[in-house]
Amino acid sequence: MHAKTANKIATATIYTLVGIVVIILIGILGNILVSGVPHLSWHFLTSEASSFQAGGGVRDQLWNSLYLLIITLVISIPVAIGAAIYLSEYAADNWLTGLIKTTIEILSSLPSIVVGLFGYLLFVVQFHFGFSILAGALALTFFNLPTLTSNIQQALEGVPQTQRDAGLALGLSNWKTIRGIVLPAALPGILTGVILSAGRIFGEAAALIYTAGQSGSIISFTNWNPFSPTSFLNVMRPAETLAVHIWRVNTEGIIPDANMVSAATGALLIIVVILFNLGARILGNHLYSKMTAAKS
């Protein structure tokens, strides 16, 4: 075939395939937003879920989702950064490191329902945490750590070796080079990894059904004592998240407006993920330019 024709065909094919992906994405997003957004209202966001009648909201679920996300990130980010620094900067290139890296890759494809069952057996039953935010956050940490670690590791490995040499040649210790030069340079990549994980955590349902539980206890947003069972800050209370709420309303819910509630909750979930994404990017760019004086 003529090289020019082959090139045209290849280009057209690639454009078509990209087009399919974009259409699917727009279709899904559009469908969820179009069917959900009209049902979103201030009332929906600020009232409790209802068990039997129509007109319930998702106030507690929204808060639980955000709270779980924050706690999970607070636990998993330091651990993942530490592990990633070890793997990319300190680990010798031998079979053990290879084994660790392979294990992390395998773990990152672990089905979330399996992580959920594991969390249930270990945290809920063995450690007597009961269905609780803490058990849910720990299960999500297990679910999230492998991906987050390898994302951060890739970000660190993307920093050119010349930067490390330059740091060492200036008399910096290994650790100071990592902390002062490699980490700031890798920040945009690390941030992307965190954002991707946050999306996964926020939308996760299967790992939470058996750990954080599916029932919302009655909570009060004016009770600031984190040890009180009705406080919204208590980490030992069961907590249903938005994603679990969608699942439950559709499987065992008996409210008459189940379709409407799940459509609105789905739209809300996506909107919050998008907002989180944008917020994290703005914060990250701000941090990056403050650390590096780069205009981005």
Binding site: Q163, L170, T292
Partner: protein
């Protein structure tokens, strides 16, 4: 404390091996203070490896073994008592690829000083200006000190790196092919900078560029296959090499 012949760094019988492979077979060379010495030789001859022994940049390579004696101002740099931070402050380094840190120009230069514990803002400002001037980059960056150093051109970045190395007032600066990644114009800017500074600092420069070596170096050492073939004043070496191999290399018969 400078050696009798005015040498600031002396090396005696330096052997270096990676595992069972020996890359340097006993090199003895003395570097005189405030001169620019060029290390020449074909690729893989060990000149960069040798250069990196002089501020112990090879330390972290697995299975490496370095024997012989390398002294800076009479002190054995491979002694367990040697303070690496001090050594690298005294013996700075500039690399082949310009490697400014992802910070502002100002912070790049100030970083080494802050590590030394200098907190006096005025002193830091003064050193930043002084070293950027020495590296002949001040006029190009003086209005952009808060811009990211990586936003500048390759030649400018390399001169910022030279300024960064000079800011801590080193006695020796090691240059590992400092212009080979740059375009001809940037390359000549860096070369000119070095030529102007060579009586204030001791430079040891690895280069592949023979013209560059002949233009700016005072002494030239020619290495091949891990051996020092010839060493002497640059002019003498280029006009009248003692060794046939040196002559062949300088005339471009191999390399």
């Amino acid at each position: 404390m400078v050696d009798n012949a005015g040498a600031i760094i002396t090396t005696k019988d330096v052997h270096l091996s990676y595992g069972s492979h020996e890359a340097l077979h006993g090199i003895s060379l003395d570097f005189k203070e405030n001169e620019l010495t060029a290390l020449l030789g074909p690729s893989g001859c060990g000149k960069s490896t040798f250069l990196r022994c002089l501020n112990r940049m090879n330390d972290d390579i697995p299975n490496i073994k370095i024997t012989g004696n390398i002294r800076f101002e009479g002190k054995n740099i491979y002694s367990p008592k040697m303070d690496l931070v001090w050594l690298r402050k005294e013996v700075g380094m500039v690399f082949q690829q310009p490697a400014p840190f992802p910070f502002s120009v100002y912070k790049n230069i100030a970083y080494g000083l802050q590590l030394e514990g200098i907190r006096d803002k005025e002193l830091i400002d003064q050193r930043v200006e002084e070293s950027l001037k020495q590296a002949a980059i001040w006029n190009e960056v003086k209005d952009d000190l808060n811009r990211n150093a990586q936003d500048f051109s390759g030649g400018q970045q390399q001169r910022i790196c030279i300024a960064r190395a000079l800011a801590v007032h080193p006695k020796v600066v090691l240059l590992d092919e400092p212009t080979s990644a740059l375009d001809p114009i940037s390359s000549s800017e860096v070369e000119e900078t070095l030529a102007n500074l060579k009586h204030e600092f001791t430079f040891i420069m690895v280069t592949h560029n023979l013209q560059q070596a002949s233009r700016i170096s005072d002494k030239t050492a020619f290495l091949m296959n891990g051996n020092l073939i010839e060493y002497g004043p640059t002019e003498k070496m280029f006009l009248n090499p003692q060794n046939q191999i040196t002559s062949d290399y300088l005339n471009g018969r191999f390399g």
